[in-house]
């Protein structure tokens, strides 16, 4: 599958530590958004804590995009130091263009062997002509010209990015951008370049981590606790400043055991509460998530997944915490597991998760991942949605109040501390309806059934999955991979007649009847996920009846699944 002209362009800027590749990439994305483009920017770094080599990958399109492009059109290297490490991430073709700085010598052998067009520009020399001029700003000008970004818009984005710098520094950057634009006149014209949409509507520039945090506060979260961990930290950072604006607060905890304990305490006190972490932190939290199940305290735990096991690859994406999220609690512990399928869906899924946790008085684990969390994306403004979120409170409090009453729905009235006459003890010990510790079989079974019933019998409506197409071949996927799959199938003509695309948002509890309905008439199923061992495939096989032949496309990280691989799988099957 070739990246069709008119769909998108992918531009990469590489450089060693301090060269400013990321700054140039971020301004490029912002400028393109101002000019009406959709797009996204991924960041790839060397292992150094600060100042390592960096690769900014900017994809621009006239339609919304959710994933990296299948091919990259332009690579600009501010310098070549240590940039070989990025070779496996590049998707350059003979049609692509590699631009180097003539001062930095020949384009290295390894890059030459990719067979792309090569071009040298005097980046450093041009920068030196300007007082405090920097080559990365020359590069920004070169790219802006190359893709047809208007000068005024590029400079407006630059000025915003450098708003905190003094006027002299800003002016030399502006001069450098103009100089780069002039220098780009020498470059060959790219033929596959799409045009910006003519009439841009309101756009947002947002990462999945920001989106998840925003969705959480829309859902009503007013207390958060967390311990820093890549790639989830930005969620906590965003909440640390946002929550006080809303009368809430974030506490930096001493570890993840404390984060989850604190949100349970806050939620017991009546404040909708969340934490954000990644795999190692989720592992530490599992005991207390079980406490939230047993004591029926609503909490939301966001896991921004990274490559595992153990410390793994903190800065890269994988979908490998699925098993832990679904099966990781001890005892029979029904809880919610959800996963957003795009950056904008991080808003909806988090908001919905808070709603469900509060309504069902149960913990919800939300599985985002590094690629959603840390990719800055230009999307259409996301309209507000509202859920009538309310904990079930006791109607009248008297001697007969029972915190864990065996109600029909399984949801019992939860008295909030401070309410006279509603005193009870929340307990992780098996208990009776009053909450008194009990080891009798009938109490245990009654409370287990109540907690299972409230989760499984709830009407989740249509949000449990995204279902599109009506073909006989179904593709079932989840999380960030949904975006890749969707883009790949949209490249096929009449795909909706041939394929059926199902992205599951609600992973636990499983919805056998809903999936059976979605699969009616399906003859074959391809399960797609980013996990070496096929955790999602196993989960589907264990919990659902899958008609016809089922195949699994499961690849580990750290490289994203490419649309091409997927396309080959589908094309080769019929």
């Amino acid at each position: 599958m070739k990246n069709k002209a008119g769909r998108s362009i992918s531009i990469m800027i590489a450089g060693s530590g301090g060269a400013g590749a990321m700054t140039a990439g971020a301004i490029l994305l912002d400028a393109a958004a101002r000019a009406g483009w959709y797009g996204l920017m991924e960041r790839s770094y060397g292992p150094q804590i600060r100042g390592g080599e960096a690769l900014a990958i900017v994809r621009l399109s006239n339609r919304p995009v959710a994933t990296r492009a299948d091919t990259d059109q332009v690579l600009v290297a501010i310098d070549w130091r240590k940039t070989e490490r990025f070779l496996p991430e590049l998707r350059l073709t003979p049609d692509s263009l590699i631009i180097g700085d003539s001062k930095m010598g020949d384009i290295p052998e390894a890059f030459q062997s990719l067979g792309a067009h090569e071009f040298q520009l005097p980046l450093t020399a041009l920068a030196r002509k300007i007082a405090n001029g920097r080559p990365n700003m020359i590069v920004l000008g070169v790219i802006a010209k190359l893709i047809g970004l208007p000068e005024d818009i590029t400079i407006a984005a630059l000025e915003k990015a450098l708003a905190k710098k003094d006027a002299a520094a800003r002016n030399s950057s502006i001069e450098a951008v103009r100089s780069g634009m002039t220098a780009a006149a020498e470059l060959p014209q790219l033929h596959s370049f799409p045009e910006a949409p003519p009439d841009p509507v309101e756009r947002w520039s947002i990462t999945g981590n920001e989106a998840a945090a925003y969705g959480a506060v829309l859902g009503g979260v007013r207390f958060a606790a967390g311990y820093p961990i890549t790639p989830a930290t930005e969620v906590l950072e965003w909440l640390a400043t946002a929550l006080p604006e809303l009368g809430g607060v974030l506490v930096q905890a001493e570890d993840e055991l404390a984060s989850v304990g604190q949100i349970i305490g806050a939620s017991f006190g009546g404040a909708p509460a969340m934490t954000a972490t990644s795999g190692p932190g989720l592992a530490l939290m599992t005991e207390c998530i079980g406490l939230a199940v047993a004591a029926e305290v609503p909490i939301v735990v966001l896991d921004v997944m990274r490559g595992g096991p153990s410390t793994g690859i903190p800065t890269k994406s994988e979908q490998t915490d699925l098993n832990m999220a679904i099966y990781g609690l001890h005892g029979d512990a029904p809880h919610l597991v959800l996963a957003p399928m795009s950056v904008s869906d991080c808003i909806f899924t988090m908001q919905w998760s808070v709603h469900l946790a509060e309504t069902l008085q149960a913990p919800a684990i939300v599985l985002s991942d590094q690629s959603l969390g840390q990719t800055r994306t230009i999307i259409d403004a996301v309209p507000d949605v509202a859920f009538a979120t309310k904990r079930k409170l006791p109607e009248a409090l008297n001697e007969s109040y029972q915190r864990y009453e065996d109600t029909e729905s399984g949801v019992s009235p939860m008295s909030i501390p401070g309410t006279p006459g509603g005193q009870y003890t929340a307990d992780g010990l098996a208990h009776n309806e009053k909450g008194h510790p009990s080891t009798t079989a009938s109490d245990h079974v009654m409370q287990l059934s109540k907690r299972l019933r409230k989760i499984t019998d709830f009407d989740y409506g249509r949000h449990w999955a995204e279902i599109d197409g009506h073909g006989e071949t179904a593709i079932i996927t989840w999380g960030s991979v949904y975006g890749t799959v969707r883009e790949a199938v949209e490249e096929m003509s009449d795909w909706q007649d041939k394929l059926r695309l199902i992205g599951i948002r609600l992973l636990a509890p499983h919805r056998p009847k809903d999936l059976a309905a979605a699969l009616r008439g399906v003859k074959r199923i391809l399960v797609v996920e980013q996990s070496q061992t096929g955790q999602f495939h196993d989960y589907l096989r264990a919990r659902y009846d899958l008609p016809g032949e089922t195949r699994s496309l499961s690849e580990p990280g750290p490289l994203p699944i490419s649309p091409q691989t997927l396309h080959d799988q589908i094309a080769g099957w019929n």
Partner: protein, 278 residues
């Protein structure tokens, strides 16, 4: 903390659940001291929460008629921290054992002292894991040979909770003996009144696995000096005492708890302004 007009007796703070403790266990007396302290302060039952971990001592919340949380082993302070930050209007007490508070929950102890929230932390120290039937705890003497996992004794330096609380930033530090029910009640009441993190170690015998602790009531003696607000003096005193001084040993009223960061309530959707391009 609001006063109530009708006087609540200690009995009013008790639930009707019968404790599971062994007859003679020191924790009965600690339970009584807590209800006496709550009564002395005339606290409304619904405005008090007692949070605990797991252990014999951690069973206390269910025996009280206030809001309670019997959480998991070692995490009482974390749950209490979240509750207190979200609900600064509640009076929050935390109950632990020496295993719960100093071993599995040891890290939270350090950080709760540092944070200095307005919590009252009552640790019933019996120098043993009672609930799991008699293993050594961090405060067990190194030569105690009856611990089944440490035959021949632990050989380890006992944990010194009061010194550690001081070094970590607790602003009220006291030791009590469950044998002195009224004295313990007074100290717990003072701890509740203290506006920062108050740590109260209660020597509370485990009559089943440490029967020799019945003799503790003869060993304890009130500290011969007034409470100090000087950490250096307190440190010297705590390091050299015989572990049986009782009373308030350190009380610093100058270091105030962190201010609440809750601000005015805006609607969440105003935050989207920051995402808009341009």
């Amino acid at each position: 903390m609001a006063a109530n007009t009708e006087k609540l007796t200690p009995r009013c703070y008790k639930s009707d659940i019968k404790p599971v403790w062994c007859p003679g266990c020191g924790d009965f007396s600690v339970l009584a001291s807590i209800t006496k302290a709550l009564s002395a302060l005339s606290l409304k039952r619904e405005e008090v929460a007692v949070v605990s971990g797991i252990g014999c001592s951690s069973r206390i919340p269910a025996y009280l008629n206030v809001y309670g949380f019997h959480s998991v082993h070692g995490r009482a302070l974390t749950v209490a921290t979240g509750l207190k930050v979200a609900r600064p209007d509640m009076t929050v007490l935390v109950a632990s054992g020496d295993g719960d508070g100093f071993s599995i929950g040891g890290n939270h102890f350090l950080h709760a002292c540092r944070r200095n929230l307005d919590l009252t932390y009552v640790v019933m120290d019996n120098q043993v894991y009672g609930m799991t039937k008699g293993q050594a705890s961090p405060t067990t003497d190194p030569d105690w040979e009856a611990g089944k996992l440490t035959p021949g004794g632990t050989g380890l330096n006992p944990f010194q909770p009061l010194v550690i609380a001081l070094a970590s930033g607790a602003t009220f530090i006291a030791r009590c003996s469950s044998g002195d029910q009224d004295g313990t009640a007074d100290t717990i009441a003072a701890a509740i009144r203290h506006p920062g993190f108050a740590f109260v170690q209660v020597l509370s015998p485990c009559v089943t696995f440490r029967p020799e602790q019945r003799g503790w009531s003869n060993l304890v003696h009130p500290a011969p000096v007034e409470p100090t607000d000087d950490p250096a003096r307190a440190a010297r005193r705590l390091l050299t005492d015989d572990s049986f001084f009782t009373g308030v040993l350190y009380h610093n009223q100058h270091r105030q708890p962190p201010p609440s960061t809750h601000r005015q309530e805006a609607h969440a959707s105003v935050l989207k302004e920051a995402f808009k391009v341009l």
